[in-house]
């Protein structure tokens, strides 16, 4: 029964004329792709291009309207995920499917189809240990999964698939929750496994850099159709981008202009405890001036999330002070309004929206309770709210069925656009942003970054906390690195070197 050890050869999978219709909508139109055994194949496409639909058809979650799946050249019927698993097909999802309160070992054992009724932990642990020996990487087995960092969780997801003996693996944006360093490490390992012939990988991605660095071949989907592909070595980023987005024009990041002004935000000797309560956050001195973007880079879990919470008033701090425009600032609604402080937290649907309220209402959160004279109002003016919402929806190109739809029905990029619309309307002196582009397709990313740059050029002080180093390097005027709860390095963008930043992110400096 030793899962993962019976037959180690990778398998090849092919789709032939795959078509999937949902009512009148064609999600996949006659898509044929061939993933060779032992290859690392990338599947590129914008949001809504049909990538997820295609892999869900392969995994048996959807039943294609027409078309076949071939495994090792033989046609197979995959009515449900269980059958797919039995054929050795597995999938690592964009979101973690591990059970958070169970330990890594418990997660692995319970995921097995032949998990024993009585679990002999000594024997299972021995088995797991010897399984780990054969793997290129390992994770702590006896910690509850919710204590693992995102990178470790993603590795565990991967280990789980290998432990279950999967030989064809679909990775759905496996690095969207990882830092660049973690992503490279993980994909390097995956690449290693494909090179030994133990695994075939089909990876859904938006990130060209990862595709060029790790994949052998690529297939590109656009609006449900296969539009091109081939060997990665024969294509460059421009070719892939052209296939992926077609004729659409990309929004360029706006030019930088304007001079750096007065300090807007100063954080002085602030102390707080981190999420686990075990480590501390120590911010000695952080100053953001008008008209500059200060980027904070760092490996996830080094206190960035806590810093955001401190600045947003969600986390109490035990010492030090935070000032905005030289006045003490405790992030109340009144203060935020007075000093024109705006926030764009990560996962905006969860942290900056009331998911079931309408787009109109969500757009009005900053203004619904003030009247023209700037005083608190009692009766809500729905007419004006609706008018303002329609203007913002048009100006920020938020795609929604109607202004009255609940905001949770919007796609990720459109939720982010809506929140940006709300936060960037009116005067903005200080903008605090955390991971604004997680999981968005890259035309949305370009547009959102341009908006941030525009706010900077208009004189706002911008604090950008991001785990995406490319984003930090693209937008920032100054780069700071956070490690172990403190700011350990800072450099103006002109003198920034990726190697130096990376060294400080890793905590080896």
């Amino acid at each position: 029964m030793k899962a993962g050890r019976k037959d180690k050869a990778a398998i090849g999978v092919e789709t032939v004329g795959m078509t999937m219709r949902f009512g009148a909508f064609t999600a996949l139109d006659n898509v044929s792709i061939k993933v060779k055994a032992g290859s690392f194949h990338a599947l590129l496409g914008e949001n809504g291009a049909g990538k997820s639909t295609l892999v869900k058809c392969i995994m048996g979650f959807y039943h294609p309207t027409s078309g076949q799946i071939m495994i090792e050249g033989r046609e197979v019927e995959i009515p449900d995920p269980r059958t797919a698993h039995a054929h050795g097909l597995g999938m690592v999802y964009q979101h973690f499917t591990l059970v958070p309160s169970l330990t890594a070992a418990e997660n692995l054992v319970i995921s097995r189809d032949d998990a024993p009724e009585m679990i002999d932990w000594r024997r299972e642990n021995d088995n797991l240990e010897s399984f780990m020996e054969t793997m290129p990487f390992r994770v702590p087995l006896n910690q509850p999964v919710n204590r693992l960092a995102a990178g470790e969780k993603q590795k565990l997801e991967l280990l789980k698939q290998l432990y279950l003996g999967r030989r064809f693996l679909i990775l759905d944006e496996p690095t969207s929750v990882l830092t660049p360093a973690e992503a490279d490490e993980l994909l390097g390992m995956v690449r290693g496994l494909t090179e030994t012939g133990a695994l075939t990988v089909l990876m859904i991605s938006h990130k060209f850099r990862e595709v060029t660095a790790f994949a052998d071949e690529v297939s590109v989907l656009r609006r449900g159709s296969f539009v091109g592909g081939g060997k990665v070595s024969d294509l460059d980023h421009a070719d892939m981008a052209a296939m992926m987005i077609g004729e659409k024009e990309l929004q360029k990041t706006a030019e930088r202009f304007g001079a750096v002004g007065e300090p807007i935000l100063t954080v002085n000797k602030v102390r707080a405890s981190d999420r686990s309560g075990l480590k501390s956050i120590r911010i000695e001195d952080l100053t953001i001036r008008a008209g500059e973007i200060v980027g904070i880079a760092g490996v996830s879990g080094n206190g960035q999330m806590e810093l955001m919470e401190i600045l947003a008033g969600q986390r109490p701090y035990s010492a030090g002070e935070i000032r905005v425009e030289n006045e003490p600032f405790s992030a109340t609604r009144a203060e935020a309004r007075e000093f024109h402080v705006r926030y764009l937290p990560e996962e905006p649907l969860r942290n900056a929206c009331a998911p079931r309220m309408s787009v109109t209402e969500n757009l009005a959160f900053r203004t619904f309770d003030v009247n023209d004279a700037g005083k608190t109002r009692f009766w809500i003016d729905r007419g004006r709210m609706g008018e303002a919402a329609r203007e913002l929806i048009a100006a920020f190109k938020v795609k929604t069925a109607s202004p009255e739809s609940p905001i949770e029905s919007l796609s990720g990029g459109n939720v982010q656009r809506a929140v940006l619309a709300r936060e960037l309307t009116g005067e903005v002196d200080l903008l605090i942003i955390s991971n604004p582009c997680f999981g968005l397709d890259f035309s949305a990313v370009a547009e959102i970054r341009a908006r941030i740059m525009t706010a900077r050029n208009a004189g706002a002080a911008v604090l950008l906390i991001s785990e995406d180093l490319d984003e930090i390097l693209e937008l920032s005027d100054r780069v700071l690195v956070m490690s172990e709860g403190a700011i350990v390095y800072q450099t103006p963008i002109a003198q920034a070197s990726v190697a130096e930043i990376g060294k400080h992110m890793a905590g080896h400096a």
């Binding site: 319970i110 024993p116 009724e117 679990i119």
Partner: protein, 308 residues
Amino acid sequence: MNETDIGLWGVPLAIIGGAIRVSTPFLLVSVGECLTERSGRINLGLEGTLVFGAMSGYAVAYQTGSPWLGVIAAAIAGAVFGFAHGWMCKLSRVNDIAIGISLMILGMGLAFFFGKPYIQPVAPDLPSIPFGWWSDLPQVQAALRINVLFLLAIVVAILMGRMFRSTRIGLMVRVVGDSTDAARALGFHPDRVRLFSTAVGGALAGVGGAYLSLYYPGSWNEGISSGQGLMAVALVIFARWNPVSCIWAALLFGGAGALGPALQSIGVTQGYYLFYAAPYVLTLGVLIATSSTSRAMAGAPGALSITK
């Protein structure tokens, strides 16, 4: 000082004895609720289940002359209530807390309705084991007269702790309670697991009721429960969803409950009713002392509607 007067020593002794006697229904109900909550549901109807279990246990014991048949009947009645709760929660847009409260009222109402004829008759009591045989003091003997159901409850709690750690079923319940999506992805049936977890939880609550009517206080009347079924829900939180900790939580709670009668026995009558509030004050105190504003409750099942 004569042989049977042990003075102030009577207080801790009475508290220990009382703790064991009073804690048994708390323990049975909270261990059952622990299982239910670990599977991701809250059954607030256990108070009604407990009262119905007390009534049905008493009635069957009286009719058959066997207290054990009474206990079994109470367990079956409790399981039926649990099934009803589990089945109704499976329907879409049904809230487990609302269902629990209505089942609590229903259970009590049915128990009072069917229990009317059994208020007068006397049913046989459950046996207890005299662990105090080694002592000559009647107080010690009284305190250490331990009911079989208490021992059973301890065994169930320990076995359940083991089950959560090292059986497939235990892990399955934890998976279902932690993340419905993950459970589906693993091919489990969350509703089914919750249905059975709630049924077993109900059965244990029914047995807890039988303990009330068949041992301590040992008769059936409408005021038999003083909220044990509800307090047990708090005890589960207090015990951080760990069945073995439920033992200590229940004993602590039972001991605090025995404080009033124990002090009364040595002649302290001042603030007598206040001492009856001791367990509740204690629970509040402990919950406040162990709370944290910045951290989520450790050990809380992720799929539980109150922790979501």
